[in-house]
């Protein structure tokens, strides 16, 4: 039993807070039942179900803080975990940046739970594998994929009377389909909260189509090209860039949003007019919990509006120091786009390159957010609005800040998978000018 009801969770958290003799106590309880199935070479390799529930207790004596966790919930266990946190706190040196626990928050429930996902069975997972493997086999292709699903609950409470409880569900699916001669490779990823919006049978056709179409790729010269980036291709770059939105990093002089001479670039226009990005915990199809890791209430928060930096992320300590307001840290990122599909963007492109996804993204220079990575699983040359032929993969060296200054057009936003971003993310396909490819890769 690892999914507690609201009443059960509240009873446990109330007991913990009552047990603590510290100046203040913050506790959280999280439980999940997560299932998965993995397959490769057209055969199931592993599958399993993991149930877990964990209680985390953080206490403070003055500015001394200690944290302990446990996954047993009888009275003796609760007393033990509180004592361990208190013992650690007493050993800890003063934290001069200590900020007292948050006050009572007025959370607004967000639509993070879908009953259908909670009802997924081992047979359903096996069928997802079969729906990937069977059409691949029939087409002389080889499928390797991973399907995972989870039901979770989260509850937070503290000694100042705050309390919140919410359930959530998540489904993540990725499948790589390769031709049996290993000369072509395609990929599909889907991420939803509600499994009734997922259909392996139809989604797998995306990977199958790309695998077949990507054989016999031609080599193009590296250089600057107009690109159509599918949502999965740009999500990793944008997620990386968000680290620079930390107010403290910017104020300390170690972010691309640092101002020459000191301070930060809040309020300045840093991106193309077409770029608008915000966080909204209740956004339909991309909802997240209504509180952040600190228990702070999340609200709709503009981050970039028409290219202007609208907000930076302040920790509670930094907000107090800089007399700014600390808002709940975003759990999702929504980028505003248009109505066109990826293929509509292709149609309007005279010469360019279609990128299915990007891979192995790493920071090269944090000063400019210069990143490097590669294209993978379906890269195609576009001419006069048509996909002409598959091309060999490229290594790219590009900054998302430069990329978001070179926006020609944005399509209809889509939700990207868990592997592409630590955020729940809705990102449009993008048409970008002068994207920098620096070398060719022989990898398929």
């Amino acid at each position: 039993m690892s999914i507690f009801t609201e009443a059960q969770a509240k009873a446990i958290l109330d007991k913990v807070i009552k047990l603590s003799k510290a100046d203040e106590c913050v506790a959280s309880l999280e439980g999940s039942v997560a299932g998965n199935i993995r397959y490769a070479l057209n055969s199931v390799s592993t599958s399993g179900i993991v149930s877990n529930c964990e209680l985390s207790v953080q206490v403070a004596f003055g500015k001394k803080v200690g944290t302990a966790t446990i996954n047993e919930f009888d009275d003796a266990a609760l007393a033990r975990v509180v004592k361990r946190a208190e013992d650690l706190a007493k050993l800890a040196p003063d934290n001069p940046e200590f900020i007292p626990a948050i006050g009572k928050q007025a959370y607004t429930a967000t639509p993070t739970f879908a009953e259908a996902t909670a009802g997924i069975t081992p047979e359903y997972r096996a069928q997802v594998a079969a729906d990937s493997i069977n059409p691949s086999k029939a087409g002389k292709l080889v499928a390797a994929g991973f399907f995972s699903d989870a039901v979770r609950f989260s509850a937070v409470a503290n000694s100042k009377g705050n309390f919140g409880y919410q359930k959530s569900t998540n489904v993540d699916f990725t499948c790589t389909v390769r031709t049996d001669d290993a000369r072509g490779s395609g990929w599909v990823a889907r991420n939803v909260s509600d499994v009734s919006q997922f259909n392996a049978k139809s989604d797998i056709q995306t990977a199958i189509g790309k695998a077949k179409a990507s054989s016999d790729a031609k080599a193009l010269e590296p250089g600057k090209y107009t690109v159509i980036l599918e949502p999965a291709a740009s999500a990793g770059l944008i997620s990386f860039m968000m680290q620079g939105f930390d107010a403290r990093s910017a104020d300390e002089g170690r972010s691309f949003l640092t101002k020459k001479g000191g301070g930060n670039r809040l309020g300045e226009k840093v991106f193309d007019d077409k770029v608008t990005l915000f966080a909204d915990p209740a956004y339909p199809g991309a909802a997240v919990l209504p509180w952040d890791n600190d228990g702070l209430k999340r609200e709709r928060q503009p981050i970039i509006t028409n290219g202007k930096v609208d907000s930076l992320q302040y920790s509670r300590y930094w907000a107090q120091l800089k007399k700014a307001k600390a808002l709940g840290q975003p759990g999702n990122l929504i980028m505003v786009g248009g109505t066109k599909s990826t293929m509509d963007l292709v149609k309007g492109t005279k010469k360019g390159i279609l990128v299915t996804r990007t891979w192995y993204i790493r920071s090269v220079d944090p000063q400019t957010v210069l990143l490097t990575g590669l294209t993978r699983d379906g890269t195609f040359y576009i001419e006069n609005g048509e996909i002409k032929y598959p091309i060999k993969n490229f290594r790219w060296n590009e900054s998302p800040v430069i990329m978001l200054n070179n926006v020609d057009e944005l399509g209809k936003p889509e939700r990207v998978g868990d592997d592409e971003s630590p955020f729940v993310m809705l990102i449009p396909p993008m048409k970008i000018r002068e994207f920098t490819f620096t070398s060719l890769s022989d990898a398929v």
């Binding site: 959280s28 998965n36 397959y39 490769a40 070479l41 055969s43 199931v44 390799s45 592993t46 599958s47 993991v50 985390s56 953080q58 803080v65 944290t67 302990a68 966790t69 446990i70 361990r84 650690l88 050993l91 934290n95 001069p96 940046e97 900020i99 079969a130 493997i133 080889v142 994929g145 991973f146 390769r178 290993a182 930390d246 403290r248 002089g253 101002k259 020459k260 001479g261 952040d292 890791n293 600190d294 702070l296 920790s315 192995y360 790493r362 090269v364 220079d365 000063q367 210069l370 490097t372 590669l374 290594r395 060296n397 900054s399 430069i402 620096t438 060719l440 022989d442 990898a443 398929v444």
Partner: protein, 544 residues
């Protein structure tokens, strides 16, 4: 390698509540208490018997107690101290020629028997999809044996205060030497692992690892420019004695750089880091083009890891990682042909799970196989891979090479990278002598940015410090350097390797692989090595 998870959890920008990464946070004294061996044998036998009764033709049980401690600091203060403990049993079985796995943290006899039955039931269910039965290479049981990392000082027994004092001394030294910011972390691991199998093996192992990452930042407020320099230590398979700062552990390198072997002077390195980070702010930007690269072991380990370690993992070669980490260019036909030139004739690359002080050193792997050393690339030619019991028949080996590992009792063990290293040159050669021969080159120290494609052909690497070499001499520190390679051409350009006097290890604490993802720790040894005519790009950009 996947540092992302770790960095996320030790990030200085997150709120005060830091959840432990593994298992439950525990009080310090718990970390120093050993687990009971006799009890573990009784519990393991319960698992093996229940599995056999449920139809298993083979079963193994791993009872693990995984202890970890983080001490996280920045500038003059401690951000967090976290102790974690995770204990449980993982049971793996073969039924109908198919693997099944189940794990539980409940170590009562009933729960263990139930988990064994669950593993058997999963194997039976999955056998419907099995195309070929598991072929397990035979192994002789080893009876009751034990192995422990040969540590001198158990890190878990060193008081937290001593660790905090050292890190704060490090930070103060860096600040005094001109750093604007400094983050330093101590990360300590003790895996107490008990393995038992139906082959009559009962193996008790006590594994220790230590890592002290550090980032020193220098800022020029006027220009808005910032630069960092990370530690020149390496994560090691050692106890707290690694931090003893003995003179014998220091290596004087060109460019006024100090490297470290099996003893690290963290305070000294912090001072150097502060000065070198400051120098980076005004260092000349590199002119892109072809250069001869002289790569220090503190840098080359990561290139070996990505361009040799990963492509020679047999599960990747076969396609089992196709949907995540990828496959490999080093396909079976290249190995079968016995003539695939992986590198120049002086290139000898080998796997070794026994080298002392390495992260991968254990007596036995996580399926009970005694560890060993074997060649991967001999005289420049591909000769072997890294494999485990159910794979070695594919490459004609009679016994497993011992590469099986799980990062927790709760995860199933699978093929992981051994320590993969470049053998030192046979002829006497120092780093200074190597540099004397270079007309137009760059000397690179420390690991930086790294990225490689899913078949391990095209890679790009940065570094920590770069020095221009002109006509046999180091001229100045330069910046904005990254080099791009195609793996076989890069190793084919290997022109000289320093001798064993310069042999040092680097390594990764968090090499990621698998779905769900697991981490493993692995070392890579080398001496300073020269590669001719490598493509160097300039990474400086302007944001306008």
């Amino acid at each position: 390698m996947d540092r992302r998870d770790f960095l996320k959890r030790t990030s200085t920008s997150v709120g005060a509540l830091m959840l432990p990464v593994y298992g439950h946070a525990v009080a310090a004294e718990v970390l120093a208490t050993p687990a009971d061996k006799a009890m573990r044998k009784v519990l393991a036998d319960i698992a093996l018997n229940a599995a056999t009764k449920a139809g298993a033709t083979y079963a193994d049980a791993r009872i693990g107690r995984y202890l970890r401690q983080f001490v996280i600091t920045r500038e003059t203060r401690v951000e967090n101290v976290v102790n974690t403990e995770s204990t449980g049993i993982g049971i793996r079985v073969i039924v109908n020629g198919t693997w099944g796995f189940a794990a539980t943290s409940d170590l009562s006899p009933d729960a263990i028997a139930k988990a064994a039955q669950q593993a058997a039931a999963i194997a039976k269910a999955n056998s419907k999809f099995q195309t070929a039965p598991v072929q397990l290479a035979p192994t002789k049981g080893v009876g009751e044996v034990a192995w422990a990392t040969p540590i001198k000082k158990n890190s878990m027994e060193v008081p937290i205060k001593e660790k905090v004092d050292l890190l704060l001394a490090v930070n103060n030294a860096a600040l005094k030497a001109g750093a604007d910011y400094v983050n330093s972390i101590m990360f300590l691991v003790n895996e107490q692992k008990y393995f038992a199998s139906t082959d009559n093996s009962y193996i008790d192992q006590d594994v220790h690892r230590i890592w002290t990452p550090m980032t020193v930042t220098a800022i020029d407020k006027k220009s808005g420019k910032f630069r960092t320099r990370s530690e020149f230590s390496s994560p090691m398979g050692m106890g707290y004695e690694y931090l003893d700062a003995k003179a014998s552990g220091k290596v004087k390198l060109p460019g006024g750089v100090v490297g470290y072997t099996n003893s690290y002077d963290m305070v000294e390195d912090a001072v150097a880091a502060a000065k070198q980070a400051r120098a980076k702010l005004t260092a000349r930007s590199v002119k892109p083009g072809k250069y001869d690269l002289v790569l220090d072991p503190s840098h080359l380990w990561l290139t070996i890891h990505e361009s040799v370690g990963h492509p020679l993992e047999l599960d990747r070669v076969l396609g089992y990682e196709a949907n995540f980490a990828g496959t490999s260019f080093a396909t079976l036909d290249k190995w079968k042909g016995k003539d695939f030139k992986y590198g120049s004739p002086i290139v000898q690359l080998f796997a070794d799970k026994q080298q002392p002080t390495t992260l991968g050193a254990v007596g036995y792997d996580d399926e009970g196989i005694a560890t060993q050393r074997w060649d991967l690339v001999k005289d420049g030619v591909l000769v072997n891979y890294q494999a485990i019991r159910d794979q070695v028949h594919i490459i004609g080996e009679k016994a497993s090479q011992g590469c099986c590992y799980a990062d927790s009792w709760s995860n199933v063990q699978f093929q992981r990278m051994a320590n993969v290293s470049l053998a030192p040159g046979k002829a006497k050669l120092t780093v200074d002598e190597m540099i004397k021969d270079v007309e137009n080159g760059i000397y690179i120290v420390g690991d930086g940015s790294f990225s490689i494609d899913q078949q391990r052909y095209n890679a790009q690497f940065g570094g920590q410090l770069f020095f221009e070499i002109k006509e046999g001499k180091i001229t100045e520190q330069i910046e904005d350097v990254a080099y791009q390679i195609r793996t076989p051409e890069f190793w084919g350009a290997c022109a000289a390797i320093c001798d064993e006097r310069d042999y040092r290890f680097g390594g990764s604490f968090f090499d990621g692989k698998g779905q769900p993802s697991q981490v493993s720790a692995v070392s890579h040894g080398s001496s300073t090595t020269r590669f001719n005519g490598i493509n160097v790009i300039n990474t400086a950009r302007s944001l306008g």
